[in-house]
Symmetry: D2
Subunit: 480 residues, 4 copies
């Protein structure tokens, strides 16, 4: 690492090697050569006399051994990276040299390679996404009937279960996955379209044979890993696609952000926590202290990710005619950033969900503190069943609720509502009986446990089954 | 219109009455009543003794005659709009009064109604979107082989055709349509889920019968116009859906913005223009002047629309636990704004594309001015065919190109490249011959015309066929 | 209110009448007339023969009695609002009719009025802002030495005081105020500049007398309430100014948002709350429950406000040459929105801070629960003073800290660290003595109280003194 | 450069070495040591017995020779960068080792260093900004009376001058400069404030002597290059400041973006261009072609820069209590990005404005083509002076205007309005006379030239004078 100039922290700190490599020069320029080879081979197969089998073979043999120094030197001279790499490739392929890039424009290699890299990057994202879904599914099923306070306004509302709450995070991620699959359908090759998309040079090469030019477009696409090409293009593939890509990734960011914020609140409540790495040393004075640093980092990374789609929208919306170059610098930064950020976020999300820590006693304690308030309706009904006037009981309960709430806030005391009620002779229950009424607080969670099971079976299992081959060997270790 | 306080210009100036009505109080509160009726009816059908057929009939009979004054007075008193409307409805339905809203929480009517309104609003958007696609398809096919300068960097690059260029706008809109259809699949009812989504009150009402509560959820959804419900929810439907909605609409904004900017540039070039309304009076001094005001307005509206998704992402990402109320005020503004903006944009887009004006002579003039530069490769090859040295010819042509370019910019003269070449004895062509070489400039457009036809047949026709029933009677008149 | 079409909720729900009026048609068109009158008067004063004292008097007499029906009818006919209002004014001022708008372009009235309205709107904002600062200052001084847990990572860190924490909110608002004052300096009149800003018509009117045209520009500005004009303009005042305006207001949004989120967390902790309106009825079952609805609303409104500056940046950045109209529709919506949102936010902020509720017992309880952990350093030092080995004691304390933390989280028990330490013979203190060591927890708050006082004296008092005349009679009642 | 993983293009392609160094590890860690030294020295000067002159001297002697390998190894072990660097520094300063970081928290070095780096970075930005202003001022004065078409709606409006148009860009930049200076006033040291800002450890170190702790705060700040400290802080300096920083830089982006887009349009018009680098080779076929690549790059970089402030607003608005760590990752990326982007943009802006190319003949040609339309008012008045009826003449002129406009658009012909008028006997002028009427088109530019001069003298000269010492030796070479 060069300590004398700025180093991008996404690479030096947060992301997976696999994703970093996808956006490297080596990966890009190697794929350029694949594009040139595919073009030559397709031209050969379609009978273009200028291209021979020997040339194609020579090109194929030299895909991986890029002579970077030659390309770099040439680029310094002519200031055109595509032409510099054509030249360098030609140096290694004397036979094929005259037909490298034949009929093509720079964006032939640039666009097709950009698209392929993003296709591959999406695979990495998908893999991680499914792993997180799998982790959360296991967590949900394990805690499907652990009752916990449900919050609205971050005020106690009604009980739910820990498992049920986590199905909400999963449901968000399933929507992300659905949009990711949708996006995959939209990522097509630019194929062989020419300077402004008219295929003018190719129709000339093939003497006006439209069918052959159409085949060339398809054939090249297949050889570089696509099943479809864009039907029409200007000089580049539509920048609108980039907008959809950014939105898809940003969606994952939003889902992760919501989860992370909830976890940070749960950490404060001491109900749930990030896994504690064995190597991680707490501060000496407060050895027990565990800051939710990973969830906080996730929050920050997700915020940045969610800030990117606007850029892509502006670029798509401001491309003039067949193409303007105001897309270049910003895409060069933002496309890798969007993927690297998503990679970083999912790495943390995988890590956290792999062994999330739950403190059932704390959860129960908090629930019990609020339960009396939540149970007033139930107590009221029980009193009526024992022959008491509904109206009288309602007023009594209301008064004591206010008093108990007051005691909690103003006196810092525990919730003593049941005690207060039991002490009042008008209430036909002893404290023990009242406690019993509240005892099965599971009953307050409604269908939460069942919903969890149904949801996992109906929505998650099919996904995990479909993708079981890709989530086996994932590494989720992260630097804390 | 009240002139004494601020009036939202989206309503007073830009949008369709249909869309304005969808987001009105009347529409909302009427649908609340539909929700309550559906709930009662479903409860009745599932055998809940408390609900009778008479009650359901009474509710049904009073859906449309909302007693707003009662609701308003009650709301002023208790400051709770849902309870105020329950009360008002009850006033008109004495029989059903005790069972209105039975087991439900406020978000039962609020969420289900929000979702339904958006579903309907999307239909309006889809209709307008397809109409624009249809207009552009007609325009493209009409101008499929009208050669025009293709621009990269907003500098002349290679010729394309007017029709082909317009297929690019269509392709963008097809992507929007695809995402709109995808979104429709994600808009489900919230159904009957309860305060924090556990269906606790409903499982109690149905004495623990899970199957009946599941049925209730589905049945209610069907009765209010949905085929599916969200599998799990907190207090509200997932705010992530709103993010997707905003992105889908914003995508239309981006497509429209690109088109509008291109048209504004074409207006400057005097090549293409907005239709001129017969009623529209140009300024007296410059009677011929036609400012692209509609395209400019589209640009501004689209900019605002593209600025909204970030808000929805932030709301989705910052909802704590089962729900916090920081979503309320912002959704109340941004959801209508997003739909109204899209409505306004598409209204203009329909209007412009319905009779876009083209000036073929100007297009040809500009093409001819640049054609000599674009044809140098062709001239070079012709010279070589007549036995000249490629290298010598290349240098000659290069020099005169520079000279001609210089003349244009520095002297403000017309492009005289062919003249210069013809005057040089080393060039084996007369000016007439050179002119002839360039004559068929159609040949420079490659497959543009054919691409246009293929694209329309393969991608657009099926869409227009699929939706032909909905685009018949659209009104695209707008105030200029 | 029209229930049949969409109504902007900013107006119908959240904002002050004063701000709504500033952005009304009446206010705008009245100021247009002021601009025309100012122009005529200035021309008269500078000796332009065409303009007479009688004309000016006639114009002045008719500023307020706008004949809206005439203007509206005319606008429907000619589709040009400025010309329609010139016509309507002329109808009422037969003498002055020929010289209304003399030498001016539409943007003369439009820009100058826009600028003036914003100038006035900023005054309302400033007033509210200072009132909030004043409220928070009173709150801070009152609670300057109330010790409370300071949080980092939303985990207990070190104690601070309630008053000190609130100085941080004030400091943010002081920065906002500083930028607001800075903005006021940048809001100048557009003055009298002409179609593309060259003052061509005016220099012609004054026969080439540059000095008079300069004076005209200044004079008009003064007459409509400005001390300065923009030095140069295109057709409009620089849209860059709007960007600064939006950023200034958005800054207030960010400050308010941070405060609101903290308050929502404090509400969950039951430490601090919004004031409870006497009219506000809690739910019957949970009469004590108080949702932080105002803070939540503030959060949502602030989120929307913070989403606006990007629009203004895009508009400023994309204005072509002397002006394009893509600014019109978006500014027409976003400028009022930005001010109305800020107005709504500050209204809530004033209301909340006017009588914020604090629960000292809860605060103390939470502090005491965590204090033992925070005091370990102090205990360690005390042990060493009593002759114990630092290293041995450090290890003992560490072990018991872990045990106590474990008990809290895993067992849901209270923090028993001191108890554990006291029971160990190696620790030379009884529990009583340890309690005493922690007793004066005020000592853990460092300079918090003193900082509060110093800060208020040094930074806030001068501001309140400077603006004392404007914060007397502010109304902060809001609908809950 | 590592070709195997992603490399941040801001560094590898666009920015100045100076700016890259400011955000390097070396710069940061060196400044950490300066902070520690300043703290020790201040403690020594204020009489803290634990700190000796020898210790301070030792620390000073070792500021620059950072033993990175020691720090890195330690960080890998304890995962805490500040403590690792304390350790490494201590290894080199055995005497001072016990008192390094005495009483401080991590954010003491982190915040103070962040603030200092940004202060320095702002100096680089200011320097470049003033250089651009200077370049544009020279350009404006040179072209102050070169008449050119002024555009509204990108349609010809009224003439202005090239110099006057460029004063608008300058005026935008002056606003940026003003906000930059404002920001400089807000960048203060965090000073010595402690974990949650209470200075608890320092007041303990100084035995409750408030005055000394206040002095410590100031003294440290001065020693590390600040004149002021934040009055109050939580654990960090207020994140609101970052928001202001981002907005200030983004403002420069917006100004540059507007300029760049105008220049790209002017390039299309062949009126004005980027300087052509001698080394830059045009394409062989179109040797004359000059794409506005730098202006396009500027546009893209500015778009990204304008996309950043929203992130900072969200971070400021979502910091909980005394600090949460969701600011860390995003600030680590976005602060350098914001400065590097601004650096890159201004580098291009300097380069372009240093020798912008103007084509007067083209400008004149375009002006003349539209001038007849613009001159109709003048012709009308001349006719009336020769005794013709205003109304009749108006109608004649209107008709021919329409006809001429029609000819231009529909026939692709030149504007022949004067010819048409001259041929009509009712018009009392020969074509020669009409040409003469339009001859002095300078007269149509109003006060543009004079405004330019006045503006430069009144607003720009004082700035250039004030900052003349800092703009002498700026390098603006950029890679094309």
């Amino acid at each position: 690492m060069n300590r004398d100039i700025y180093q991008e922290p996404l690479v030096s700190r947060y992301t997976s090697r696999e994703m970093q490599e996808l956006f490297s020069e080596r990966y890009k320029f190697t794929h350029w050569r694949k594009c040139w080879t595919a073009l030559a081979e397709a031209q050969y197969e379609l009978g273009l006399p200028a291209v021979t089998a020997e040339m194609v073979a020579e090109l194929k043999a030299n895909i991986d051994n890029i002579n970077f120094e030659v390309a770099t030197a040439k680029e310094r001279e002519i200031r055109h990276d595509v032409m510099a790499h054509v030249y360098a490739y030609g140096q290694q392929c004397p036979l094929a040299e005259p037909i490298i890039h034949l009929g093509a424009t720079s964006q032939f290699v640039v666009c097709n390679t950009d698209l392929f890299i993003q296709k591959q990057a999406l695979q990495l994202i998908k893999k991680a996404l499914i792993k997180v879904i799998s982790n959360l599914a296991h967590f949900s099923v394990t805690h499907k009937d652990m009752a916990t306070l449900g919050y609205t306004h971050y005020q106690p509302a009604q009980p739910t279960t820990v498992g049920k709450r986590n199905t909400l995070y999963i449901q968000d991620l399933l929507m992300d996955l659905d949009y990711l699959e949708q996006l995959e359908n939209h990522i097509k090759a630019r194929g062989a379209k020419g300077t402004v998309g008219t295929q003018a040079t190719f129709i000339e090469l093939f003497n006006g044979d439209h069918e052959k030019v159409r085949q060339l477009d398809q054939l090249v696409a297949q050889k570089i890993g696509f099943t479809q090409t864009f039907a029409v293009t200007g000089q580049t593939y539509p920048r609108k696609l980039d907008m959809k890509t950014a939105e898809t990734l940003s969606g994952i960011g939003a889902s992760a952000h919501k989860f992370a914020v909830d976890l940070r609140l749960l950490s404060n409540l001491k109900e749930q926590e990030e896994p504690f790495e064995s190597k991680q040393v707490g501060s000496s004075a407060m050895a027990y202290k565990r800051n939710p640093m990973r969830a906080e980092r996730m929050t920050g990374l997700a915020r940045k990710l969610m800030g990117l789609p606007g850029n892509f929208a502006a670029t798509a919306a401001n491309q003039w005619f067949e193409r303007t170059l105001d897309d270049s610098a910003i895409r060069r930064m933002d496309i890798p950033q969007a993927f690297l950020l998503t990679d970083a976020i999912l790495k943390i999300y995988m890590n956290i969900t792999s062994k999330m820590v739950v403190y059932p006693k704390q959860i129960e304690k908090h629930l019990k503190e609020e339960l009396p308030f939540m149970a007033t309706e139930k107590i009221l009904m029980a009193c009526v069943e024992r022959g008491k006037s509904r109206q009288e009981m309602h007023e009594i309960i209301r008064e004591y609720s206010v008093a108990a709430g007051f005691a909690v806030k103003h006196e810092g005391l525990a919730n003593n509502l049941l005690e207060l009620l039991a002490q009042d002779d008008r209430v036909p229950f002893s404290q023990q009986e009242l406690d019993a009424l509240l005892g099965d607080y599971q009953a307050f969670t409604g269908r939460a446990a069942m919903q969890t099971v149904e949801f996992l079976q109906q929505y998650v299992d099919p996904i995990l089954e479909k993708y079981k081959h890709i989530i086996k060997d994932i590494d989720a270790t992260i630097a804390v």
